[in-house]
Amino acid sequence: MQTVGHHVCLKTGGRAKVLDESPFLAEYIPNNLEEENKYQFLGSGYYYWDDNLNYAKTWGKNHCRGDFFIVESDLNLAKGLFLDLVGNRGDIRFFYNLMKDLSSHVRKDARTIAGVIDIARGLEVLAPGTFSYKVIRSLDYTQFEKTDKSEDKKAVRYVENKFNITLLNPRFIICLLEKSDVILLSKTIVYESK
């Protein structure tokens, strides 16, 4: 399947350099001895918001001191390379089982999504085939959003007489574990903060 990704990055170096070198790596280093720990939701990788220019702008304002570009890319989420924790129940079950297996080994501390992905990528080096994905997609959601009444976040009920809900403006994170021409098909700067 294909989608459009929005990558937020600082303006450092200007338009041409950003267009040439983006996407930029976000590192996951939870035990950083030299400086502050670095946390990324899906581990180290190249991050996009899935088809979400509006939220990319909000994120840029909050994380890039308002000085950022948004690079839009066509992304090819190719079968076999793509772990879809949003829309593929088989992939979600696989990840759940992976997490359970890792948690029961060595110490009981493989308990975050980022931690599991990082461990699985490390184990892939020891035993190729255990985690051979190159791109991961997941839902970003917080407990507080359950009751958020803002128009763009609020949950919608399926029918009037039940409390079951769904989200019509969810945030999906896409993380490329490595830069790949198979996945990353195009790049265009579609927004520049003022």
Binding site: P30, N31, E36, N37, Y39, G80, G90, D91, R93, F94, N97, L98, D101, L102, S103, H105, V106, R107, K108, D109, A110, R111, T112, A114, G115, D118, I119, A120, G122, L123, L126, A127, G129, T130, F131, S132, T142, Q143, F144
Partner: protein, 104 residues
């Protein structure tokens, strides 16, 4: 799960049982925060249910919020604003919030 994923889990199981345990431990140690491991999965779930999202990155069973190290992402200000006692630890906070929820 597809056949590739079933095979991957089998490979993983074999690796964890029969692989180089030193190397495996190194990988685990690198990926998880050893010094401040945060709450367990059960505590996460309890935290979600109690609405304490902000303490996920910082809570430990025995450490008061006010005692958390500076380099940890604490967001203690939110707790101050909410009027919580910063000498309470994670478990006490959950109990307190659950008590509030029950009272409401």
């Amino acid at each position: 799960m597809n056949s590739q994923q079933k095979q991957a889990l089998k490979l993983l199981s074999d690796l964890l049982k029969n692989g180089d345990q030193e190397k495996i431990k190194e990988i685990f140690d690198r990926a998880d925060n050893i010094q401040y491991p945060g709450p367990t999965m059960d505590e996460y779930i309890a935290g979600f249910e109690a609405g304490f999202e902000n303490v996920f990155e910082v809570a430990t069973d025995n450490l008061a919020i006010s005692q958390l190290p500076e380099n940890v992402y604490t967001k203690t200000t939110s707790f101050e604003l909410l009027g919580y006692d910063l000498t309470m630890n994670w478990n006490e906070l959950i109990k307190t919030n659950t008590a509030f929820a029950l009272a409401a």
